[in-house]
Assembly symmetry: C2
């Protein structure tokens, strides 16, 4: 991971200092680096090759960072990881082009693996990320798709990149197809659990720990698992009460009214068993990820335990 | 090209009709399709393989379309090819994500060539496009870089994609390295000429023919070749007059004042020999493109004449 960090700091153009400053700002803010860690560990499970696995891990983190820069612009988010977003500091145009630059840099990095299978997987992931975010825009304040659309979004906007992080490590490590299937299941379950926990934290986390404002999904008209479970148990709230008001009066309500509605809705969810039930879903996904790893029959390897530890980290984290 | 058009219409997701509508809107608006034509013709100069060359041509047009969708959002452009832009119709967030989706689709399409050299070339081009646009943002209303920065921008934001369009056709056609060098010079000169003519048309074209408002570069604080040549001959206008006012009073001037300044500046340039001198530059670039093609020693081939015709089309076009 130290080499991944070092490589992340070399992205840029020799003759364009302003761009380099933007890149250092966005790439030096320490993130969890969960995705590149998964790539390296999946490589270590099989035949680890520092040349290709480190390039792939850097590419995965660059793709993730690019998508954050674009998502923050789409969501008009003021903060990320506790610091001002690129869109808040420099505006949407710079966020858009810096994100494009990062996407391209990640694509170049994945080309350095010289493996068309992982390059193709990577391109598909980039498409799924955009697809998932477009679905989120289309479904804002339109909650008719319910849980089915929620899982479709989560698969595309989050689980796809965890899956690619894991699978690319395995493919580049010359894993068998059966092993690649197990790693796919691991990445998909882990990534889905990650998003479920993210959605829980957006409803009940501590803003200073999470590094961004609480309730942003609801404010933007997006219902996530805890809200959908709660509304499933209280169908009358689809017609009246704070959820229905946030949806039906969004064009006319004042900002204090909106904040009060968000607050009421958050309290309703937190005081119910929807959060507990959402954690139960995350834990079932975590179990599935553990079982997937259990299918890999290779000699004892510390990477396996680290991949298990990442599952615990994902479901137990507070930020 | 008919197959390229057909393939452009198949991009999308089976279960996401709203996205399909957006894609049809943006991909069915007829463009010049100069870039994919260059790819196919460069392939025909050597060993044309429909499978890979058509995928590559589709990828090139998708990448171009993606960059237009993003550029229009950056420039807040109302019109493109005579119809409303995605940003004007659906807002910046949709333009950003639709552009990402198109970038990803183009990357997937180039992966179908199974050729890591062209995939790498393609990724690098995506990076240069973003780099060129970021330079343009940084240099808006800062004209100290002069012609040197102008050529650096043109190389990245336009010539890079023409070069990749041509070179990928040659590489996939198993051209020799000497031939690839000649095709590189063709693409670079053609693309640079294309942008010079674009910049001339933005200053003196007919808005209804060009399909977008005239003077948009000046309005956005960007000096292109004709303006830079004109200011080079009239250094006093760096300090006073319409150019200096557009730069120095941009925060305070009223919209009618700004439009009057743009109009005055446009008239000054049109009434000078700057436009003629800019066309002379475009024609020298066109000659260089012709000479590059002349270096390719293969049996007589109609593709060679068509690549020559594209040079004429690029420097003689009115839109």
């Amino acid at each position: 991971m130290a080499e991944v960090e070092r490589r992340l700091r070399t992205i840029g153009e020799d003759d364009f200092p302003w761009l380099d400053e933007l890149l250092r700002y966005i790439l030096a803010t320490p993130g969890k680096r969960a995705r590149p860690a998964v790539t390296l560990l999946a490589g270590h499970l099989f035949d680890f090759d520092p040349d290709v696995h480190i390039s792939m891990a850097v590419a995965v983190e660059l793709l993730h960072t690019a998508s954050l820069v674009h998502d923050d612009s789409v969501d008009k988010a003021p903060l990320r990881r506790g610091v001002a977003t690129i869109t808040a500091r420099h505006g949407d145009a710079v966020a858009l082009l810096l994100g494009d630059y990062l996407f391209a840099s990640s694509a170049e990095m994945v080309c350095a693996t010289n493996n068309v299978r992982v390059i193709t997987l990577f391109s598909r992931t980039l498409r799924l990320l955009a697809d998932g975010e477009l679905r989120e825009i289309q479904q804002a304040f339109d909650w008719t798709g319910g849980l089915e659309e929620y899982w479709a979004r989560v698969e595309r906007k989050t689980a796809s990149l965890f899956t690619t992080a894991a699978v690319s490590g395995a493919v580049l490590g010359a894993a068998t197809e059966t092993e690649i299937d197990a790693v796919t299941e691991y990445g998909m379950s882990l990534g889905t659990a990650f998003q479920v926990v993210d959605d829980i934290l957006d409803l009940q986390g501590d803003a200073s720990e999470v590094g961004k404002p609480i309730g942003s999904d609801l404010r933007g008209g997006i219902l996530t698992l805890p809200a959908l479970l709660y509304l499933g148990d209280h169908p009358e709230l689809n017609e009246k009460g704070p959820f229905a008001r946030l949806r039906d009066e969004r064009e006319t309500m004042t900002e204090p009214d909106r904040e009060q509605c968000v607050d009421e809705a958050l309290h309703l969810i937190r005081d119910s068993d929807a959060v507990e039930n959402s954690y139960a879903v995350a834990n079932r996904l975590a179990d599935r990820a553990r079982q997937a790893l259990g299918k890999i029959n290779r000699p004892a390897n510390p990477a396996l335990q680290s991949l298990m530890d990442i599952i615990d980290f994902v479901v137990q984290r507070h930020s």
